[in-house]
């Protein structure tokens, strides 16, 4: 009896003393499954660097990161008939200094983020001028991505480094700041670390999951916004972003990691580049983009990895038809479709 009691106490002590954080190293995806894409032909718009693609109902919008005439182009889906372009680059009050991402709300309005102006502009369907503007709080430094949480809230990361992301209201004011950058190596919460940990995000309101992926490392972060909790922080084989502090700025020296993420109903998709800056330095003709599509479950457990025949920058998933619509900037046909 005494032995059992002693054993019981020992096990409990060990389990409490050694309990780990909610972090783990990514398990191997194993051999990836190679898939071949089908280029979707269209000839109406020239794009320099298509980086984001979103689909809602019968509308597809592409964001050109380095757009010369317009940043966004709207097409019908799946026919890909050109409809219009909007968000003209320029320094005027109705023009854009840059484009970071586009989102849709339930009413089908477009929300476009201009980081250089710290502004989210709202476009109604079939109107080329903005119908509303949301000026982001002065407390936020350089917000580079966003998503719509609900009718009154957006989720935004920023460069202050104090928190992992913030929730802001329709007036652009911070209502809540959440978590911290999950760096194991660097405990300084500053701008340099935030620059190195620049991440792309996606939120699915149906399951409440926010996914963030690092551009300069292999880290997938999953948060439950409904429960305000960390689901998992998954560190990949290439680890967290590597950088050197150069004059108070983060200069990356590791790898190009993820460039886009999509939270589906049951799965999370992320496109991974995996190229080191050293390789890019040696071979400047390396293709831009990643050819690895990693699929995780909603807890961050790897399910499978697709090896694409093209290198893509951004993508969206048509879950109904199990299709991937991706953007390839290396060829003449930017739209590529994959059957998953």
């Amino acid at each position: 009896m005494r032995k059992i009691r002693f054993l019981y106490i020992t096990i409990i002590l060990i389990s409490f003393g050694c309990s780990d954080q909610k972090t783990r190293l990514i398990e191997s995806f194993g051999v990836g499954r190679s898939i071949t894409g089908k280029a979707l032909i269209f000839h109406s718009v020239y794009m320099r660097y298509p980086f984001r693609v979103k689909v809602i109902d019968s509308t597809l919008v592409v964001m050109d990161l380095h757009g010369s005439d317009y940043y966004y182009h709207e097409f019908s889906y799946p026919q890909l008939q050109f409809r219009r372009s909007f968000a003209k680059p320029g320094i005027g009050p109705n023009e854009f200094l840059d484009a970071e991402n586009i989102r849709f709300d339930k009413q089908g309005r477009f929300y476009c983020l201009d980081a250089n102006k710290s502004l989210i502009s709202v476009f109604d369907r079939n109107k080329n001028d903005t119908t509303a503007r949301i000026k982001l709080s002065d407390k936020l430094i350089r917000t580079l991505d966003f998503d719509i949480v609900n009718d009154s809230t957006f989720v935004v990361p920023d460069y202050t480094g104090k928190h992992r992301f913030n929730l802001i209201n329709r007036q652009g004011q911070i209502t809540k700041s959440c978590f911290t950058i999950p760096s194991v190596r660097n405990k300084l919460a500053n701008v340099v670390l935030a620059q190195a940990w620049r991440s792309f995000l996606d939120y699915n309101p149906s399951n409440g999951i926010l996914a963030m992926v690092t551009q300069l490392g292999q880290v997938l972060e999953l948060y439950d916004l409904k429960k305000n909790s960390i689901i998992n922080i998954v560190y990949g084989e290439k680890g967290e972003p590597e950088f050197i502090n150069k004059g108070g700025y983060a200069s990356p020296c590791g790898i190009m990691g993820y460039s886009d993420v999509y939270v589906g109903t049951n799965k999370i998709y992320a496109v991974f580049w995996g190229k080191s800056f050293r390789d890019m330095e040696r071979d400047p003709h390396l293709k831009d983009g990643g050819n690895l599509l990693q699929v995780f479950d909603l807890k961050g457990k790897p399910i499978c990895q697709y090896v694409l025949d093209k290198y893509i920058t951004g993508f969206t998933v048509d879950e109904k038809h199990n299709k991937l619509i991706a953007l390839d900037i290396n060829g003449n046909d930017p739209f590529v479709e994959y059957q998953l």
Partner: protein, 107 residues
């Protein structure tokens, strides 16, 4: 918050130490009735468990109680003496100095 999360865990473990220490006192009579060899073995086992788990607590506290002055000093030392980074090409990396998207930032 991530750091607070670790701190809460370490405080939790301390709480359980205290709780089980009290329990151990209650088991004193049973302990005294054991033969000397078993007493030594049990004592050693408990000691090992305590050392292992206390080590975790100390490490966690050490990380989180880092003074802000110490952090600022490390930050100041880590600043490179070289100039700002230089950005090249057309890409998707956010250039910290030019507010454009570039292919590459010099080391």
């Amino acid at each position: 918050m991530h750091q607070n999360y670790i701190r809460i865990e370490s405080e939790l473990s301390q709480f359980f130490y205290f709780f089980f220490y009290l329990n151990a006192l209650n088991l004193q009579n049973n302990y005294l009735s054991l033969n000397p060899m078993r007493k030594v073995l049990y004592s050693l086992a408990v000691l090992v468990v305590f050392i292992l788990t206390f080590n975790f607590t100390i490490v966690s506290k050490h990380v989180n109680n880092f003074g802000s002055l110490a952090l600022q000093n490390i930050e100041a030392l880590s600043y490179a003496e070289t100039a700002e980074p230089v950005c090249y090409g057309l890409g998707s990396i956010d250039c910290p100095t030019e507010r454009t998207k570039v292919l590459w930032i010099s080391k």
